[in-house]
């Protein structure tokens, strides 16, 4: 059986990849995908813990996270579209009218 630490390390790596994606990428859609990756890394942690603790709470939480992620995706993409209508770009660096 694969020990718990392997799952945790994998999810930590995935989470970090997602985090770096948010920091490095410019495309709004890709940033958003990176965030999704972070959430799924968290899901992995939940499931792994759930399995090793013999406790279903983690499973439930993972479902909740997926639901919420779906809702976030819907709202997020809608926001991206409404931004795109005013300014046809998905480059997040071009969105800084407001600063200081």
């Amino acid at each position: 059986m694969v020990p718990l630490s392997h799952y945790l390390i994998l999810s930590a790596i995935l989470f970090t990849i997602g985090m770096m994606g948010v920091l490095i990428r410019r495309n709004v859609i890709i940033i958003f995908m990176s965030i999704e990756l972070m959430l799924n890394a968290v899901n992995l942690t939940f499931i792994a813990f759930s399995r090793f603790l013999n406790n279903l709470d983690g499973h439930i939480f993972a479902f909740m996270v997926m639901t919420v992620a779906a809702a976030e995706a819907a709202v997020g993409l809608a926001i991206v579209i409404s931004v795109f209508r005013n300014k046809p770009t998905v480059n997040v660096d071009e969105m800084n009218i407001m600063k200081w």
Binding site: M19, V22, L23, I24, R26, I31, V92, D93, M95, N96, I97, M98, K99, W100
Partner: protein, 637 residues
Amino acid sequence: MLNYIWLIPLFPLIGFLINGFFGKRISKNTVGYIACGAVGLSFIVAVLSFISLLQLTPEHRVFEKILYTWIDSGSFRAEVGFQLDPLSAIMILVVSGVGFVIHIYSTGYMHDDEGYPRYFSYLNLFTFSMLLLVLANNFLLMFIGWEGVGLCSYLLIGFWFEKKSASDAGKKAFVVNRIGDFGFILAIMLIFVTFGTIDFTEVFHAASDKSHMGIITTTTFTAITLLLFVGAVGKSAQIPLYTWLPDAMEGPTPVSALIHAATMVTAGVYMVARCNILYMLAPISMTVVAGVGAATAIYAASIGLVQNDIKRVLAYSTVSQLGYMFLACGVGAFTAGIFHLMTHAFFKACLFLGSGSVIHAMGGEQDMRKMGGLRAHMPRTYWTFVIASLAIAGIPPFAGFFSKDEILWKALTQGNILLWGIGALAAFMTAFYMFRLIFMTFWGESRVEEEVAKHLHESPGNMTFPLIILAFLSIIGGFVGIPLIKGWNKIDEFLSPVFGGHGAGEAVHHSVSLELGMMMVSIVIALAGIFLAYRMYIIAPGIPERLTERHQIAYRVILNKYYIDEIYDALIVRPIKNGANFLWKGFDVVVVDGTVNGAAYLVEQWSKVMRVIQSGYVRNYAFSMIIGLVIIFLFFM
């Protein structure tokens, strides 16, 4: 009558509300009547309350009127109420009485100003806050009044806000005061946490009780009292937070008289006196209070020597006199401090109003070098001014003599010779600069510009009448505290319940002859100061022509002593003058002002630099979060 003391602050509040909201719609006269009437009514109630208080036996002269329960939560309970005891009784009489007189004066002085209703609504709001401050029965309510007077002071200093210097001065006063308030509020919190109450009676009771059991350490008392003193230093313009007061002269002159001479600036002294029980338990704080007071007294007086702006002389003089009051409190002579506070309110208000009358006549000119010979044009202003000056210089039998002498005597017997020396030197300077002011303004040849000279006139009745009242008070105000003769020191007797005996200092008996001797010394000092001023500003400048034709004898005397004048000048006057100039221009402007302004400037610059971090890029924002995460991780490891 005592049950109605809540009326005392209420009247000015009503006056403020009426004038503040409807002032523009009613006629000027009505505004004036409402404002003066409100304060007048307060004064009447104050006098009646005072009489009722006197009818009680001395031990029972503490009356608390609880209005409502402010906070009642768990172990903490605070009630909003007013407390009338001998100390606050004197304060309300001074505040409402002098306030009333100044209100009347203002109707004349501000008559042609566009902001007439605004001015009176601020003035009433100020009176309300000040009365709240002195009548409060707990620290928080006192703090509300404290902040209120600060706010009004700011509004009134910046009253002519079209002038940049005025609005800057207002801002400076507010900011400097806030620095003081910072200490005050911390002190209140510390009191709250230490005693579990903020009520004066309870706190003082607990303090004198618990300290015997050693539950609360001296360190706590020292911390509380020093923090309170920071508040007092800000409000009462002591070193190093005094710079706002001279600048505050940008406001209308009656404001300077009311706020920056008679009432608000004395709030710090009142607060220290009110907390005398706490201070007596913290010897270190007492030393600090006395030290700061003495230093301020001499420092401000020396600056006053070289000022040419008539109001600035008075401003520095106020700072210096406040230093005296703190000196008195610091050596444990709280009665003397409050006594001087009272007499000072009379004569300094009179001086300020007199200077206002002069400025009014001169069409706004404040430079004494452009005055001179005014006594012929405005006799009433002149005579009242002289009386008040004699009072501040400490010439018997005027009011200032008794209170100042009391302070010097207590500084010597309860403090040490150094404090006395500083006080005496400051007294000498006081006499000098006051009479320098009189001689430059009212005596000698007229240096008034011709345009202005045509319009020179005595001020109208509603301005001179207050002067006469205040001058009268400056004459008789001291008689309530005649020393030496048993039973004649009424104020000492009256206040002793508040200061629990330790204010009176009757315990230490010194020989009557020593006290008499010291009294003589202080009179001589004052006379010497006046004489020196007379020499330098009347005899010396016009030596050749004028004196020759008028007074042959005097002329010869002058001529013979001419070299002495030179020596005086070289040995005494010039070093003092240079030193004072250095203190004023060097230390005052660069160091003290620089620190306050510099701090503000630094914060502002820092703000401008820091905002660049807020770049507007999502990436950077996310990055900042990651940095936070890393730091927290590192911290946990």
